[in-house]
Every structure is written in C-alpha cells, then in structure tokens.
Amino acid sequence: MGKKEKVRVQICVGTACFVQGGADLLLYNEFLDPAVLGGCEIEGVSCLGGCKEAEAKDRPPYVRIGEKVYGNVNQEMLCRLLAEATRA
C-alpha cells in the first residue's frame, strides 16, 4: 500500500475567527479521531479573508481543507469534513 498524502488543514487563527469559536478548534487533539488526525497536516494560518467579504454568507471561524475554504466551522463539522477528506 502506497503512502497516502496527508490532507492539508489550515485553521484560521486571525483574531476574528479565534474569538468567535475558532479557539475551540485548537482542541483538535482531543476531539478528532486519532486515525483521521494521522491523515492530516494541521497548521495555523493568518486571516483567510472570508470574513471581510461584504456579502459573506458564512460566519467565522474559517478553515481551509485542501483548496476549499469552509465557514461556520465547529468541532463537530471539522470531524465530519476531515473524516470525508481523509477517506477520499
């Protein structure tokens, strides 16, 4: 079995995301399944800009998984998104 490439996960640690629920995502070691965690490369990233769009339909916190940016991310949603991403 070939070594699978890790999914790149960037959690926004800009102030607006961090103070609106983003800080909870930092507990990823506690709430993510270890198998999923092993398939991800998690890092912090400066503001992804989503919150500053005038007609933004999502709210912070934002997370980029691979190339796609997601808004309104909470722990439960991150679990689900990463489980899907690592399975793919």
Binding site: V13, T15, G21, A23, D24, L27, N29, L37, E43
Partner: protein
C-alpha cells in the same frame, strides 16, 4: 455551567461587534434600529420560536450593551436610536451589573425529579424502598413521583439500576451560590441584589440568555473616540485569550486607541508583598488564618453573607487597586479602564473610585473585530522590565495567588495553604461553618470561579485552551502550541 462557545455567546459577540462598527463609523444612531433585522435576516432558521422573537432579543442585547437596566428602563415604545442618544450624553450608572430579560426567560418550572420511560417497573423497586417520603407510586408498569410529597433529595436517582430518574434543574437557580436568583409571581427570573455577589454564574448558566450583564463598553469607546488619555489595565488572565503574545496584545490595545497599557500583574506584586507581610504578622501573633482579598465576588460574599470573615481578609488592595494607583501616578489625568474576565470587578471599581470603567475580554474581542485588529499580525510592543512581577501573572489561576504570596514570605515558618477553588452552593456552606470551626490553614486563597480567573464569566477561550497558550511566545503560533507530544 454552559459550554463557553455556544450559539448564545457567539450571537452576543456578533451583536457587540456590529454595534461597535456602527459607532466607529459615526452611524450608530442612524442604523441601530436596523441592526436586529440585519443580524436576523428573513431567511434565517430561527433558534427561538420565530425570527421576530430573535430580533426582539437582539434589541435587548443591544440595550444591555448600551448599559440600559432592562428591568427598570425597558420602554417598548422607545426606539434604540433614542436610547443611543441618551447614552451618548450621559453614562449609565454601573450598578447593578446584571439585568434580566423577562421575555427571554423560559420560566423553567421548579427543579424536579422525573421518572422517565426508561423505568422497567422492576421487582426490586429500590426507588420505593429508598424514598424517605414514600412518594413513589406504581401504575401502568412504571414508577411515578408524587410531586406534592417529593423533597428533591435525589435518592431514587442514585439507586435506579436503569438510570431512569432524571433531575431537571433550573440552571440559573442551581448555579447561584447564594440563592439570589428567584422566580417572581409570573414565573420569570429575578435577581435579589441584596444577596447577589455579582459572580456571574447565573448569566453563564442560562441557556436562554435571559440574564445579561450591563456593559460598560459605550463609556469606554466614547473615551477612545474623544482621544482622552486612557490606560488599559490588563488582568493577568489576558494571556491566552487572544492569538498573539502579551506584547502583541499590548500593541493591539494601542492600535485600538488606548494611550497606554499597564499589566495588572504589576499591582499583583504589591498585593503579594502586602499579604506576605500581613501573614507573617498574623502568624507571629497567633491570630489564626488569613484569607486573600483579590477576588471581588468573594469580597461581596463576605460583606453580604459571611461578615465574620471581614477581619480575616487581608487588608491589601486588589492588584487592580494598586495598578490603578500606579497608572494615576504615571499620568494623573488618565482614565483607567480595567480589562478582565470578571463581572464583580465592576462592583469593586465603583467602590474604589480610581477605575473609570471595566470591560471584559469578551467585549475587548468585539472591539478588536469592529476595528479590524488582528492581534497576531502586529509587531509586539515593548512590555518594559517585567522581571519583578512576571510570576504574578499566575494570579489568574487557582493556587497562583498563594504561591506568589509564599514566594515573598520570609521562610521562618511553615505556611499551610487552603485553596478555595470556586465558590458554589456547597463551598458556601463549608465556608459558613468556619464561623464555628475555623479553617485549618494559615492562608486561605479564595477564587469564586473554579480554576481561577481564566474561567471567569468574561473570558473568550476555554481554560483548557488558554492554559496551553500562556507563557512565552506560545500564543503567537496557537495551532503549534496545542499540538500534543504524542502524534
């Protein structure tokens, strides 16, 4: 107590940020009545019964932010713009710090025990055997509780092998350590301010957001807008509340318009020295235990409920008290704004008179959002020489105050420390007993919030996260700081 980040706290932060954005744009009065509609748009899936009630709640949140006492000054015929105009002219008085929104209150029925469908109507019937009031009856193959006789002892819940008995509490009443939260005749929440110690537990517990703090943000942003000299006195708990180091937080405060920043840990050093001296004297004279005096909710607790502890409290000012004096010494014309995790500090500020306003970390977060300040992107500001009081940043943690006092205590005697880590109903009962049977310790460190100030009602970040981001440059790379060793 509720999880820190929930729909309600996030909504509150959004409301605060939107109001401040309008304020700084100079359009608050013009747009404030549009905000409830903008924040709760038509297409939203409501969390309450309908979007119209949600909009009404946003209106009340805005009133609380403006500092209005909703209990006494709610006039439904008045527009928010009219309230804004009044608040722009005169600051509202700070006390009482809490207010209730009866429309939000769900009038929870009195706390009770209920036997659920999980009951199998078993043969042994331990509930029946253990109920001291004979209030369990059986019908339809299941047990039932006779409400009129139940004394809510919880024995049936303890003994049921199927976990079929549930306790349905009234969250605000259960959270209040001093029974100051009650229901009025209509069944809505009411706070007895004669008893209330302003700890904020009820506000943190109500899942409907019916108990709110009256904010002092407006007086503060008015000071900032008027370009007065304003000193931000930052509580020791601030580290870990924002992404960025302490020096970056300082830079962010300067960017937000504060003229200077003073760490309250500096005042904590004076508190520690004073308490160490006092403790040595008490020990030498065999006067028995001394308690700390830095927790303002504890000060209220003593004044209102445990007067016998009055002479046991250290006479030291709180770190905020000393830091305020220091700021006034540096610039007598300065306005002092304490920024912390605490609601009771507002009560202390009214008493001290050296503090002009108190806001919480949560409110500061909204200020940063409104001003578009990203703490982590800023170049750190110089904190100056912090070597003598660096350890006093531990004042924010349970056990931290005692350790700072002890490290400044002449080591001629053994000192026995008793930390009171959080004051709930049970701890309050324990403390009452000290009147007859004194606490067996030399130094009693009291913190009304469990874990210390980092678990206060005004924090942004859960203590478990904040702990990992405190110290050094950890908070500059939060994701990295959280990575565990095993991976």
């Amino acid at each position: 107590m509720l999880e820190l980040n929930n729909q309600y706290t996030l909504m509150k932060r959004q409301v605060h940020a939107e109001v401040l954005k309008e304020f700084f744009a100079g359009t608050l009065k013009e747009n404030v009545d549009k905000l409830p509609i903008r924040i709760i748009p038509k297409q939203r899936v409501p969390n309450r019964c309908c979007i119209y009630k949600e909009r009404a709640m946003v209106r009340y949140r805005i009133m609380a932010l403006l500092g209005i006492n909703i209990e006494t000054d709610d006039d439904e015929l008045k527009s928010l713009a009219e309230y804004v105009e009044e608040v722009m002219q005169n600051d509202t008085p700070a006390a009482p710090i809490l207010t209730t929104i009866s429309t939000a209150c769900s009038s929870c029925p009195p706390d009770r025990y209920l036997i659920s469908d999980a009951c199998r109507g078993c043969f042994a019937r331990p509930c029946l055997a253990n109920c001291p009031k004979d209030c369990i009856t059986f019908s339809g193959g299941q047990a039932h509780i006779d409400e009129s006789r139940c004394i809510r002892c919880g024995k049936c819940k303890e003994v049921c092998p199927f976990h079929a008995v549930v306790h349905i509490p009234v969250p605000c009443e259960e959270a209040c350590p001093v029974n100051a939260v009650k229901k009025n005749e209509e069944g809505y929440v009411e706070i007895d301010y004669q008893k209330c110690i302003s700890c904020g537990r009820c506000a943190m517990s109500c899942p409907f957001g019916a108990i709110v703090e009256r904010s002092s943000l407006m007086p503060v942003v008015k000071m900032l807008a008027k370009e007065e000299h304003v000193t931000a006195l930052i509580a020791p708990a601030i580290e870990g509340q924002f992404p960025g180091t302490l020096s970056q937080i300082k830079a962010a405060l300067l960017a937000a318009g504060f003229s200077s920043v003073l760490e309250v840990s500096e005042g904590a050093e004076t508190t520690s020295l004073h308490e160490a001296e006092e403790l040595a004297e008490r020990k030498a004279r065999g006067k028995g235990y001394m308690t700390t005096s830095c927790c303002p909710a504890y000060m209220e607790l003593v004044d209102k409920h445990l007067p016998f502890l009055g002479e046991r409290r250290s006479s030291a000012l709180s770190p905020m008290g000393y830091a305020a004096l220091k700021a006034k010494e540096l610039n007598p014309a300065t306005k002092n704004v304490f920024i912390g995790p605490c609601l009771a500090k507002k009560v202390e500020a009214v008493r001290l008179k050296t503090i002009d306003a108190v806001i919480t970390f949560s409110e500061l977060a909204s200020l940063f959002i409104a001003k578009g300040i990203d703490v982590r992107e800023l170049e750190g500001a110089d904190l100056g020489d912090t070597s003598s009081f660096e350890d006093c940043r531990q004042f924010a943690l349970s056990g931290g105050v005692a350790s700072c006092v002890l490290s400044r205590f002449a080591p001629s005697h053994e000192v026995q420390v008793l930390p009171v880590n959080g004051v709930d109903k049970k701890m309050f009962r324990t403390m009452k007993i000290w009147e007859k049977r004194p606490a067996e310790a030399d130094l009693v460190e009291v913190m009304c919030c469990e874990g210390g100030c980092i678990n206060g009602p005004g924090v942004v970040v859960k203590p478990s996260v904040a702990m990992k981001l405190r110290g050094g440059n950890k908070a500059a790379a939060p994701v990295k700081a959280m990575r565990s060793v095993i991976q």
